[in-house]
């Protein structure tokens, strides 16, 4: 029961993020292109849906870099004092 609840909750979440498609009637799940990309390149599902929401064919390179920097994968990466000069 607990396992079913956890698995269903995550499947619903992945479905909302459009990383998989979930057919509630047949209980079948399928991967999407974006889901496969996330899996192949070890991209967090959270990051993947963040990108999907914000990066469009018309997005400018500057904004793309900005979105990339917001990935949860980089959350723990702080700029160090000695690196500030290089970044500026």
């Amino acid at each position: 029961m607990v396992l079913l609840k956890r698995v269903t909750a995550v499947i619903e979440q992945l479905n909302r993020a459009r990383l998989i498609r979930f057919n509630r009637d047949t209980e079948q799940v399928y991967s999407t292109d974006m889901g496969r990309i996330a899996s192949n390149y070890y991209i967090n599902t959270e990051t993947m849906s963040y990108f999907m929401d914000r990066i469009k064919p018309t997005t400018q390179p500057q904004s793309i870099l900005d979105h990339l920097a917001h990935a949860t994968e980089f959350k723990q990466l702080d700029a160090r004092k000695e690196e500030v000069a290089e970044l500026a």
Partner: protein, 294 residues
């Protein structure tokens, strides 16, 4: 065949990989090639950071003299890059106030090695070398780190102050290792947390070199209140729980992408084969599940 670090609930791991009783072996500390002597210091006045630091340095210095008199070396692990140099300097200050110990620290072949050290552009390494100390952390140039590692390996320096990166990155054993304090800044939480059991194990594993020593020494300095916790930790009394639940979305996505899971019930079956399930059944409260829900 499956292999894991020593953990108290290794039977859960055996069950998880379907190994039967006869096929399950536990190699505890008695299998170490060099027995390890663990020394725990509980420091009472850690409330005042400055005072706590001074007390720790005094304890460390006493041990330095003892270990260097045996002709051995020590690595001191601290938890911040800046603390490597600061600790070395503070210990050198104590050394300067006490006459007649410098010969214990000095490099036996200092004139030759000093020429090598002079080529480095790292002022800290240069400054500390005269006292038989050095530093090592991820912020240093690869070149300087290699030099420090080689110097320690050759016995040109006696005391190495390092961040935990050395414990994970390079195979540099020493007769003795020491962990100075157990508070470490966790940038993902934005707060201080205690050094974890795996870091301590990894550091303790550096102590004792089978080809040179008949035993090793591991020292840990903690606040007095936490000493008991660390003693327990090193006796392998801490059960290892699963963290699969925190990354379940990524794991399920990968399994669905690879076609392992095509229906909800296959997902449930998949989860049932996990270590997470082994622990969930035994300790549901750790996973926010009540006994009744199981």
């Amino acid at each position: 065949m499956g292999l894991s670090a020593t953990l108290p609930n290794y039977l859960d791991v055996a069950e998880f990989i379907n190994a039967d009783h006869q096929g399950t072996f536990c190699f505890d500390a008695s299998y170490r090639p060099t027995p390890l002597k663990c020394i725990f210091y509980g420091v009472k006045e850690m409330g005042n950071a400055q005072r706590g630091n001074n007390i720790m340095n005094d304890i460390i210095f006493e041990n330095l003299l003892r270990i260097l008199r045996m002709g051995k070396q020590i690595i001191i692990f601290v938890h911040q890059r800046a603390a490597t140099y600061n600790t070395a300097i503070e210990l050198i200050e104590i050394l300067k106030t006490q006459q007649g110990h410098l010969h214990l620290f000095e490099c036996p072949d200092k004139h030759r090695v000093a020429r090598e050290v002079a080529k480095s552009r790292n002022d800290q390494v240069k400054e500390l070398f005269a006292y038989g100390f050095s530093v090592h952390h991820a912020g240093m140039l690869r070149k300087d780190r290699n030099m420090v590692e080689a110097m320690f390996h050759n016995g040109d320096i006696k005391v190495l102050c390092s961040t935990s990166t050395l414990a994970w990155g390079v195979n540099l054993p020493a007769y003795a290792v020491l962990i100075k304090g157990t508070k470490v800044y966790d940038s993902s939480a934005g707060a201080y947390r205690d050094v974890g059991v795996f870091d301590v194990q990894q550091i303790f594993g550096r102590a004792g070199r089978p080809q040179f020593d008949t035993e090793g020494e591991a020292l840990i300095l903690t606040p007095f209140k936490q000493m008991d916790e660390y003693v327990k930790m090193m006796q392998n009394k801490q059960t290892i729980e699963s963290h699969l639940d925190k990354g379940l979305d990524n794991c399920l996505n990968a399994e669905i992408a690879s076609g392992t899971i095509t229906t909800v019930s296959e997902g449930v079956q998949w989860l049932k084969k996990s270590y997470f399930y082994q622990r969930l059944v035994k300790n549901p409260h750790a996973y926010a599940v009540s006994m009744a829900d199981l």
